[in-house]
Symmetry: C2
Subunit: 109 residues, 2 copies
């Protein structure tokens, strides 16, 4: 899907939070995951900037450990602030989602 860039703003951060919330993971794996579920146009670099931003906001617990293959990985889990932000994200998303559906429905009347 092309041209999602602007729509992704704000959303991508939520997706990454959600993925981390499902269990310890790291940047490269998150990138692969996004590709696999259909976000083919999201580049690696983009994911890492999101992760660094989330780190800066102190929403993540970080642990750098050696990998069995390749260079060391930074493993992430959500801390309490991260879990809170994730909840907030879904609240906002569902609010917006509901509104947009209403607006669209209004069409056929």
């Amino acid at each position: 899907m092309k041209g999602l860039t602007e729509l992704l703003k704000g959303v991508l951060e939520g997706i990454v939070l959600q993925k981390i919330g499902q269990g310890e993971t790291y940047g490269y794996e998150i990138t692969q995951y996004l590709q696999s579920i259909g976000f083919e146009d999201i580049a690696e670099g983009t994911v890492y900037t999101v992760l660094l931003r989330l780190e800066k906001k102190e929403l993540l617990h970080v642990e750098k450990r050696k990998s069995e293959l390749g260079p060391p990985r930074k493993f992430y889990t959500l801390n309490d602030s991260g879990k809170y932000e994730l909840d907030k994200f879904w609240e906002k998303w569902f609010f917006l989602s509901r509104k947009l559906n209403e607006i669209k429905e209004n069409d056929s009347k």
Copy 2:
């Protein structure tokens, strides 16, 4: 609803296009409409910048006419490019919406 700013990026433009697509309207009315359906935090200035952007992209037909009350209004309708963009917007929105639902569902498994 607070803190929607980042989620609104890309979406607001679509909402405005949709509103114009439902019939000739103008900035102030669009602002009132957004307030009325629950987007209380979207300021007037924001709507006007969206409208000017859409004008610049040549997605709108514009007509400045006198108002019965107050200063003249700029009345907008969608031109063909505008209708096309609106369709594209909904495509992108529903793609994203479906993905997000899938991601969220995955939770309960």
